[in-house]
């Protein structure tokens, strides 16, 4: 992390960030230090309740950390939250929309909020809708969309204003294989243009294939940050998959015991 910081080439930086929810003794995120380079795809991995969504919600300016600083594209998430939000495209884990709007109106609404000019918005909406195979349904009310369609609409809305950083919370949930493939392709293409993708996922295969670097978080603490090769080196398992390494790191590696218990329960 220090290397990334010292190079000054980072898009996102978490500096000693701690977040504690009211009434909870243990912090949701504790002393998080993390820097994400420009132009990289960074996968944020962790079991349920590890603090992934909390970290993302702090990054996009929805939650305030108790201590530490978060910057994205040079903007502080507290001091310059409007500037920070302007350079981010954010896809939440649960797609929420004004359900009475049509898909097209929602995207136009987002374009209005981000000040996308008419000429550009038409071109971008056309391309993105066609890419995600949403053209035919854009005039329908969002309430009639399936979960996957809402997810795709969320991705289109996040990309339509051409952000510098794309932040996605569990983006593959609900997507069909084809849409999932398209999204992964979009994420790669996005980074090829020098922009940054920060996303959380449970799907190890996605992280393994897509990410330049990964971060593993458990119980609010960052356990590892680096490339898959670095992870393998550190854990001494050259042939191990990311899933195995992840389970090992997060203390959930007793796969055989788990299988035995499952067998017992089902019997």
């Amino acid at each position: 992390m220090e290397q990334v910081r010292e190079s000054g080439d980072f898009a996102i930086a978490f500096d000693h960030v701690t977040k504690r929810y009211d009434g909870k003794e243990t912090p949701a995120v504790e002393d998080l230090n993390l820097a994400i380079r420009k132009g990289e795809i960074f996968g944020f991995l962790g079991p349920n309740g590890a603090g992934k969504s909390t970290t993302i919600r702090m990054l996009v300016g929805m939650l305030r950390q108790n201590s530490g600083t978060i910057t994205a594209d040079g903007f502080d998430n507290i001091v310059s939250s409007v500037g920070l939000k302007r350079c981010l495209g954010y896809v939440p884990d649960e797609p929420v929309f004004y359900e009475r709007m049509s898909g097209l109106r929602h995207i136009n609404f987002i374009c209005d909020l981000y000040g996308v000019p008419q000429r550009l918005r038409k071109e971008r909406i056309g391309k993105l809708a066609s890419l995600f195979e949403m053209t035919e349904v854009l005039d329908d009310p969002i309430s009639s969309y399936s979960h996957g369609m809402k997810q795709k609409l969320g991705v289109i809305a996040a990309l339509v204003h051409d952000p510098m950083i794309l932040v996605l919370d569990e983006p593959m949930v609900g997507l069909d294989p084809r849409s999932s493939f398209i999204l992964k392709d979009v994420m790669r293409e996005f980074c090829r243009k020098g922009r940054t993708v920060f996303f959380s996922t449970h799907v190890m295969e996605v992280a393994e294939r897509l990410c330049d670097r990964v971060g593993i978080i458990s119980k609010g603490r960052l356990l590892f940050e680096g490339t898959l090769e670095e992870l393998k080196l550190r854990k001494g398992g050259e042939d191990a998959t990311l899933e195995e390494l992840f389970l090992q790191m997060t203390g959930q590696a007793d796969v055989a015991g788990l299988a035995k218990r499952t067998e017992e329960v089902l019997e």
């Binding site: 702090m58 998430n77 939000k85 929420v96 005039d139």
Partner: protein, 577 residues
């Protein structure tokens, strides 16, 4: 059909939804920073107690209002030879209101419940599922029926004293009374579901039902006021009018509504039109027959209706315009809008997105229209304007008219629940790169568009109808503008400070939101302050018109300060938490 399964389904529904908890829960976001946990809990508890007391008194007041109304009918009926008409009116009004509410609720309770997709997949009979849903609908409506009809039973007690028929009749009335309207409402819901092919239609039915219900209450109240001296006793001089108007009406009601005539008679040990026990027996038989027929019809199409509702869920009418593919050539679809106008449009989308918000807000904006239409139809408006003749010459008359209209416009929950209405979508707003001031102003402009525009229209109509000089219009319009802006901004500040965002059902965000009550209180207080400024100016020697301009100035200062407060609270709400 197994009664055990039906009861299990009903019990599980209540355990799973805990409607009483939802009614009284107020999980507003906690105060930021300064409050300790203990203080916050104490303040919340005091809030619950205050809210409960206010709710209790408001329920009692409305029940007393119903009671006076029924008593007036009872008094008139006795004079005209219809001794049970007060009870009959209570049962009739109760049945109509329960029917309207059943029409609104039946499609969602019977065919659209969130738990239905689960229940349809488990091995229970369709009749058991239908019966459990009918019990749920009946139980929710029985409390409403009790609220409306119980004052009528109390009135019978005052007239006849306690008796066995009154006791048995009261129990039977409260148990059987809601049955027929609930069944009829369910049949209506079934028809609507089938005709609309599962499309959402709730807003339309709710708006219609609320307007009919309010019209019914206002009509019954105003028609009584015309013939009484306010204490429920009719004026001797109006006896002829009264006989003409009501004699024939009561006779028609007795013949057209035999069920209600029987229900009313079973409460009277003496003086009823029928023997109370015979009436009770007839009532039970009629209810049983109607229930059997209705349940047969409902069961015959239940599976199909649930299937229609589930498959049509979320399906709304497609826009009549061309599809998106063709629209990519249409530049107008992509025309940029200003930030403010797009946010104002979003406010309207939030309101339209939930039928209960839509109904509530339309109701608030349209109450004066309903009042005027009902009063005009009942002839009361003409009599009122005749009676106003002497008052209109007073130099304070325009101020009084303006004040009454402002009172109606200030008693609103539009701003005081504006943030709460967004619910989980408020987080989405917080993720946008929009300065808080723009979002706050958009909410204020939305408030003004609804409340000030309607106020201005009512003002113009009042000036025209009541012959108020047009020279009063400038101060009336200005006073309205600043007062509605000021109350709206203060109410919005309250909702920004402690929004209720984690509501489970939309009613919690508006009707059951304490911020709504606070907003109304603020409206009243604001008007009192403006009125005091006017009074002080008048006491200082200014003319009434000049005093009203002083009131405008005071209200303008208040509006400016209130907007500042709203902006401060808004900024804090949009910051990361």
């Amino acid at each position: 059909m197994s009664l055990r399964v039906v009861l299990l389904l009903v019990r599980t529904y209540y355990l799973g939804t805990r409607p009483w908890e939802q009614l009284f829960s107020r999980s507003a976001s906690r105060g930021r920073g300064v409050e300790t946990k203990h203080t916050a809990t104490t303040v919340r508890r005091i809030g619950y107690v205050l809210l409960s007391i206010l709710l209790f008194f408001s329920f009692v007041m409305v029940m007393v209002m119903f009671g006076f109304n029924y008593y007036s009918f009872q008094s008139i009926g006795r004079t005209l030879g219809y001794p049970d008409i007060g009870a009959m009116m209570a049962q009739f009004i109760g049945a109509v209101i329960v029917f309207l509410f059943s029409c609104m609720s039946a499609p969602s309770v019977l065919y659209r419940g969130k738990d239905l997709s689960l229940l349809m997949s488990v091995p229970i009979r369709r009749s058991e599922l239908l019966a459990s849903r009918m019990v749920l609908l009946y139980l929710s409506m029985a409390s409403l029926y009790f609220f409306i009809v119980f004052p009528g039973i109390v009135i019978v007690y005052f007239v006849t004293g306690i008796s066995v028929p009154l006791f048995l009749g009261a129990v039977l009335t409260l148990l059987l009374g809601p049955l027929v309207p609930v069944l009829l409402g369910s049949l209506f819901g079934m028809l609507i579901t089938r005709l609309m092919k599962g499309r959402k239609h709730k807003s339309l039915i709710e708006v219609f039902s609320i307007i009919v219900m309010m019209a019914l209450i206002i009509y019954s109240q105003s028609s009584i006021m015309r013939f009484t001296d306010g204490s429920g006793l009719f004026e001797g001089s109006a006896a002829d009018d009264l006989g003409r108007t009501y004699g024939a009406l009561f006779e028609r009601l007795h013949h057209a509504l035999p069920l209600f005539a029987c229900q009313a008679s079973m409460l009277f040990s003496v003086g009823g039109r029928l023997n109370p026990y015979l009436a009770a027996a007839a009532c039970i038989v009629m209810n049983a027959v109607l229930a059997l027929v209705a349940m047969f019809l409902l069961e015959a199409s239940y599976g199909r209706c649930v299937s229609i509702a589930l498959s049509g869920e979320g399906r709304s009418r497609r826009r009549e315009t061309a599809g998106a593919t063709e629209r990519f050539g249409d530049r107008s679809a992509y025309r940029p809008a200003s930030l403010r106008s797009t946010l104002i449009r979003k406010e309207w989308d939030v309101v339209r997105g939930t039928s209960s918000f839509f109904v509530e807000i339309i109701g608030e904006v349209c109450v004066p229209i309903i009042l005027v239409v009902v009063y005009a139809l009942s002839g009361l408006l003409g009599e009122l304007s005749e009676g106003l003749g002497a008052l209109t010459v007073s130099p304070w008359f325009p101020a009084a008219v303006s004040g009454i209209l402002l009172l109606m416009s200030s008693f609103t929950m539009i701003s005081s629940t504006s943030v709460s209405r967004e619910g989980p979508l408020f987080d989405l707003c917080r993720s946008w790169p929009i300065p808080a001031s723009v979002q706050v102003d958009a909410k204020l402009v939305f408030h003004m568009l609804l409340m000030y525009l309607s106020h201005a229209v009512y003002l113009l109509v009042a000036v025209f109808l009541l012959g108020i000089g047009f020279e009063n219009l400038p101060w009336m319009l200005a006073l309205g503008f600043f007062t509605i802006l000021g109350t709206g901004a203060l109410s919005l500040a309250v909702d920004y400070r402690r929004p209720l965002l984690d509501w489970k059902i939309p009613q919690q965000a508006m009707k059951r939101n304490f911020n709504g009550l606070i907003g109304m209180g603020i409206g009243l207080l604001y008007l009192a302050v403006v009125a005091s400024a006017v009074l002080l100016a008048y006491l200082a020697g200014l003319t009434p018109v000049a005093s009203m301009y002083v009131g405008c100035a005071a209200s303008a200062v208040g509006a400016f300060a209130s907007r500042k407060i709203a902006l401060r609270q808004g900024r804090s709400a949009y910051l990361p938490r």
